[in-house]
Symmetry: C2
Subunit: 181 residues, 2 copies
């Protein structure tokens, strides 16, 4: 059997005001390693075009700098505050586009999948998620803001879930669409 | 006084399944002219990444081919069906990004602003909007699908509103639209 390949995942917790970014790397069955964590902020008073452009620029920079093998984006749900959902959907679309343009596989995970992956409980609170992220990545300090911790949790979730799914599915082999007018 | 400059507007009625695109050109106070109309379709069973990429590719192609001076995108509201809103927000984000990357101004107009602009009634039905679009652009046939007609209505709306806004605004006539959150 071949040794399991190291996989590097960029997790994106999408948002216009704060877009969390976290990169982890690992192999199945071992604790993941922290590569980078951060957040893109854009000002609410700025034009939507300028905000989306800033998010795109920063995600592109991360993809160039950290060269992840795959990108995991939070799957947006609509139960939440309606204004937030719009910004989340828009910023998420930018993240998905940036990855897809480079031919990187994109995976979407729901918040409860992420919580279940890192805490064992799909309804865990934010604090519990952050605590587990710190423990798993052996971080001495809480990642701030919470969006950054969420992005790391998402990346860990993807790393672990894809390890389970890997033998059967070539995760994220995107079906190519026709598109066209 | 200088003759008014011709302005070319790309209107985008955003959507993932169908994204309406319409280009009109005109000068203030004259009937606008039709340049192009069409729709980008992506298949619901396709990956979100492939779908957003297809929308981006096509909008980029339109921007290159028709060289609009400005891009008008429908401002998304959340009252509608929740699933639709997500796709609309995502496709809208792609359109805004494509324009912003080229340094083109982006304007957002609400559906009722568009209806008021082309029919005089902010609560006009779809049919009435399509009829007026055909009349204003002297089109012999109904643009299909409805998303294509909506994109043209949006472009006409922007052409007229920006014309009004230009010379210090006819007092209280129409509130000026802006970029937005």
């Amino acid at each position: 059997m071949y040794p399991p390949r190291r996989t590097r995942v960029l997790g994106v917790d999408p948002g216009l005001t704060k877009c969390g970014l976290g990169v982890v790397e690992g192999v199945p069955g071992r604790p993941p390693g922290l590569v980078a964590v951060g957040v893109v902020r854009t000002a609410a008073q700025d034009d939507i075009a300028a905000r989306l452009l800033a998010v795109e620029r920063e995600i592109d920079r991360w993809l160039t700098e950290y060269r992840p093998d795959t990108v995991a984006v939070e799957r947006v749900f609509s139960q939440r505050n309606v204004r937030t959902v719009m910004g989340t959907a828009q910023a998420g679309a930018v993240a998905i586009l940036c990855a897809a343009r480079r031919g990187l596989p994109v995976a979407l995970h729901t918040p409860s999948e992420v919580k279940a992956a890192v805490t064992g409980n799909g309804r865990a609170g934010k604090d519990q998620v952050t605590t587990m992220v710190m423990r798993l990545l052996r971080m001495p300090e809480r990642p701030r803001p919470a969006d950054a911790a969420d992005a790391l949790a998402l990346a860990i979730c993807h790393l672990w879930r894809s390890a389970i799914a890997a033998p059967a599915v070539a995760a994220g082999q995107l079906s190519t669409s026709g598109g066209g007018t």
